[in-house]
C-alpha cells in the first residue's frame, strides 16, 4: 500500500466546481455568524471527553448529538436560557411513547438555538427550574436510554434554520493532538471491492470510492467519523464532506453543509464512508484522500492505480 503522509493542504488544488466553492462560502459564513451569536457557550460537563461525534453513523442513522463520556458528573447549562421541556425517560404512561434519549432536558438558548441535554440519570432532571444561567445544574450524567456507557449526549438545534448544528462549531476547543486515521480505502463495483494499495490494476469503468477513516476520540472508548474529508482524483477535487449541520428533507435526515446527503448515500456497512462514484478512464489514476479532525489535525493518503 502506498501512502504519502504529506501536508497536502499547503498545496491546494484549484477547485473546478463552483458549487463546492459556494458551499464553502456558506459554511464559513454560517460558522462565523453562529460563533458571533453564541460565542459564550460552555461545555455542559467539566473536562469533556467526546465519545461520539456529530454525523457519525450509529444504529442505522446519523447521530445529531455529540457524546461525552462521564460517570455521575453534573450536567450544566451551556449558556443562559429557559427550560422548555423535561422528560423523565421512564415516563411511559402518556400514550406509551418511549424515549430512546432517556431522561432529557431542552433549553432555549439565545437566537432560537435549543440545547438538548439527553441520557441524564433517571429522576435527575431539574424539572423545577425555568430561567437558567450559564452553569445552572440540569441533572447528572447517566445512561437512561439507547447509549453505551454512562455520559451525556449534547445536541444543538437551530430553530430558526430548522437544522441540527455540530456542537463543536460553537463550543470552546478541546485539546486534541491525535490525527484521524485512514484505515483503508477501496473501489466498489457490482458488489465487488478492490482495496487501494493492494490492487495495482483494474478494468476501466465506473467505481464507487469508499474510505474507512476514523477519528480516535478523546475518551479513547470509541471512534467517530472525521470532521472533514476531501477526495481528490488526478488532482481534481471529486468530493468534500464536513460534518457541520444536518436537516430533514422529505422525511429523511441529511447532512447539509456540503450538499445534502442522506444516511444510505453517505455510509456503507460498518460505518465506512461513501465518498463518490466516478468514471475511471483507461490510464493511470491517483486517488488522494485527506481527513481532518475539528482541532485541525490532518492525515492524508494517496494511491496510484492503473486502469486497463
Amino acid at each position: 500500500m502506498v501512502r504519502k503522509w504529506a501536508f497536502f493542504h499547503r498545496h491546494e488544488v484549484p477547485c473546478r466546481f463552483s458549487r463546492l466553492r459556494i458551499d464553502w462560502v456558506f459554511a464559513a459564513l454560517f460558522v462565523v455568524l453562529s460563533c458571533a451569536t453564541l460565542a459564550g457557550l460552555d461545555w455542559p460537563l467539566q473536562n469533556p471527553k467526546p465519545s461520539a461525534h456529530f454525523g457519525t453513523a450509529a444504529s442505522g442513522g446519523f447521530t445529531t448529538a455529540i457524546g461525552l463520556d462521564a460517570q455521575g458528573s453534573l450536567v450544566r447549562s451551556a449558556d443562559d436560557g429557559e427550560l422548555s421541556f423535561v422528560h423523565d425517560g421512564r415516563d411511559f404512561h402518556i400514550n406509551s411513547l418511549p424515549s430512546t434519549i432517556g431522561t432529557w432536558v431542552a433549553v432555549e438558548h439565545a437566537r432560537g438555538m435549543i440545547g438538548l441535554y439527553s441520557q441524564l440519570a433517571p429522576d435527575s432532571a431539574a424539572y423545577y427550574l425555568k430561567k437558567l444561567k450559564k452553569g445552572s445544574i440540569l441533572g447528572s450524567t447517566g445512561a437512561s436510554g439507547w447509549r453505551k456507557g454512562e455520559g451525556l449526549d449534547f445536541a444543538l438545534y437551530d430553530r430558526t434554520a430548522g437544522r441540527w448544528v455540530n456542537p463543536l462549531l460553537l463550543m470552546p476547543s478541546i485539546e486534541d493532538k491525535t490525527a484521524p486515521v485512514i484505515r483503508s480505502a477501496y473501489l466498489l463495483r457490482g458488489g465487488k471491492a478492490w482495496a487501494l494499495g493492494e490492487t495495482k490494476s483494474l478494468p476501466q469503468g465506473q467505481y464507487t470510492i469508499i474510505v474507512d477513516a476514523v477519528d480516535p476520540v478523546a475518551s479513547g472508548s470509541g471512534a467517530a467519523a472525521p470532521y472533514y474529508i476531501r477526495l481528490i482524483v488526478d488532482g481534481v477535487k471529486a468530493a468534500e464532506l464536513s460534518l457541520d449541520t444536518a436537516e430533514v428533507k422529505q422525511g429523511s435526515l441529511r447532512l447539509s453543509s456540503t450538499g445534502p446527503r442522506g444516511f444510505p448515500e453517505l455510509y456503507a456497512g460498518d460505518g465506512k464512508i461513501i465518498l463518490a462514484s466516478k468514471l475511471f478512464p483507461r490510464g493511470r489514476s491517483v486517488i488522494q484522500i485527506l481527513v481532518r479532525d475539528f482541532a485541525g489535525n490532518e492525515r492524508q493518503a494517496s494511491w496510484a492505480i492503473n486502469l486497463e
Binding site: 427550560l83 406509551s96 418511549p98 430533514v248
Partner: protein, 365 residues
C-alpha cells in the same frame, strides 16, 4: 264576608296545584351507580411467570395491563392471568407485546400467550398506537412502523425531537420540540403538517387523534400554552377550535380522545377538561388526576380516571359535563385501569410489591 271566601278559594287552589304538581310532575330519583367487587386475583411475580394454563376463549375478552414492575394479560372473567416482569421497557396491546432491555440486539414480538411471532431487527424502542406497532429509533427523531411479520413498513425522519404521539388506524400523529405537528398516513406519507403559533416558545406538549382520524388536537407552546383542535374538511385539516390555557407545562401533557371519538380529554393543573367537538363546548372536572385519561363508557356516559386521594389513590367516575359522580379510594404505589361496558379492571401494586388485579362491576341501586 265575600272577600274572605275568595281568599279561601285562592288558598285552596294553590294547595291543590301543589298537590297535583307533586304527583304529576315529580321525577323519580335515578338509581345510584356503585362499583361492586366481582373478583380479585394476585398477579404472579418472578421471571416470566405464567398463570395462563387455560385458553382464554369462553371466559370473556382478553385485556392487557401494565404496571411498573410487571405486565401481562387477563380475561374479563378472572379465570386466567399471564404476567411477566418488566426488565427495562414493554410495549403492550391487547393482542401482542414486546418486552425489551435498554440496548436490545433485536426486539421479539410475542402474542398474548408469550409465544414469539416475529423478530424485529430495527434499532430502538417499540410502542403501540391505534393497533399499530412502531419503533422509535435512537436519537428520538426517527420512527418506523413495523408489520406483523416484524418487517419495517416505512420509516420517517423528523426535523426535531419527538415529544408527543397518538395514532389511529389511518394516521399517526407526532408532536415535535420545534412546535410542529406532523401526521403520517398508513404508508408513512405526510398528510398533516401544522405549526400552531401564538406562543413565545413554540413546542408540542401533547397531541391526540380521534379514532376515525378526522379530528386532531394538540397542546402547544409556552407563554402562553394553547389548545388547538383541527378537523379534516375535504382533504385538509383546519383549526376549528382553540383557546389559551392557564397552564405552562414544561413536560409531556396527557390528552386523548375517548374510544368513541365523542370527547377530547386533556389535563390541566388540578383538573382535566372535556371538550365536546360536536358542540364546541368544554366542561371541567376538578381532579388531582394521575393518569389513564381517555377511558369512557359510552353505555353509561361515564368518564373514568385515576386520581390521587387523601389516603392514596382514587378511581374517579365523572360525567362528561364535568360532574364528579363518585370516587373509590384504594391504596397502591402503582396502578393501571381498563374499562369494559359493565366493569372496571384495576391493577395495583402495593407498597410491599405485591400486585393484584380486581374486577369492579357497575351496579345500580
Amino acid at each position: 264576608m265575600e272577600e274572605n271566601g275568595k281568599r279561601q278559594l285562592a288558598i285552596a287552589l294553590v294547595a291543590l296545584s301543589g298537590v297535583i304538581y307533586f304527583f304529576v310532575c315529580a321525577i323519580p330519583l335515578s338509581r345510584e351507580l356503585i362499583l361492586e367487587p366481582a373478583w380479585a386475583v394476585s398477579i404472579p411475580t418472578g421471571a416470566a411467570t405464567l398463570g395462563l394454563d387455560r385458553p382464554t376463549a369462553g371466559h370473556g375478552s382478553r385485556l392487557s395491563f401494565r404496571l411498573k414492575g410487571s405486565f401481562g394479560y387477563f380475561d374479563e372473567a378472572g379465570a386466567s392471568i399471564f404476567a411477566a416482569p418488566v426488565s427495562f421497557g414493554c410495549a403492550i396491546s391487547d393482542e401482542a407485546y414486546v418486552s425489551y432491555d435498554r440496548l436490545p440486539e433485536y426486539l421479539s414480538l410475542r402474542n398474548a400467550q408469550g409465544q414469539e411471532t416475529a423478530r424485529i431487527s430495527e434499532p430502538g424502542y417499540p410502542f403501540w398506537g391505534g393497533g399499530r406497532l412502531f419503533v422509535m429509533h435512537p436519537g428520538q427523531v426517527s420512527v418506523a412502523e413495523i408489520g406483523s411479520d416484524g418487517k419495517r413498513l416505512w420509516t420517517h425522519d423528523f426535523p426535531s425531537v419527538i415529544t408527543a404521539f397518538d395514532a389511529c388506524p389511518s394516521m399517526a400523529l407526532f408532536g415535535l420540540l420545534d412546535g410542529s405537528l406532523v401526521g403520517l398516513d398508513s404508508k408513512g406519507d405526510e398528510v398533516l403538517g401544522f405549526s400552531p403559533g401564538g406562543s413565545r416558545i413554540p413546542g408540542i406538549y401533547g397531541c391526540a387523534i380521534s379514532p376515525d382520524g378526522l379530528l386532531a388536537a394538540a397542546i402547544s407552546g409556552l407563554d402562553s400554552q394553547r389548545l388547538v383542535v383541527l378537523e379534516k374538511r375535504s382533504s385538509a385539516y383546519r383549526v376549528t377550535y382553540h383557546r389559551y390555557l392557564d397552564s405552562n407545562f414544561r413536560r409531556a401533557v396527557d390528552m386523548s380522545f375517548t374510544e368513541d371519538g365523542r370527547f377530547l380529554l386533556y389535563e390541566q393543573e388540578g383538573r382535566f377538561f372535556v371538550y365536546d367537538p360536536s358542540k364546541r363546548r368544554e366542561a371541567v372536572v376538578d381532579s388531582a388526576f394521575l393518569g389513564d385519561l381517555g377511558l369512557f363508557s359510552s353505555a353509561r356516559e361515564i368518564l373514568v380516571a385515576i386520581e390521587s386521594g387523601e389516603g392514596g389513590r382514587d378511581i374517579l367516575c365523572a360525567s362528561p359535563v364535568g360532574k364528579r359522580l363518585f370516587t373509590l379510594p384504594f391504596n397502591a404505589e402503582d396502578s393501571s385501569i381498563a374499562l369494559s361496558s359493565d366493569a372496571i379492571f384495576l391493577g395495583l401494586t402495593s407498597q410491599g410489591g405485591a400486585s393484584n388485579m380486581l374486577r369492579l362491576d357497575f351496579k345500580e341501586e
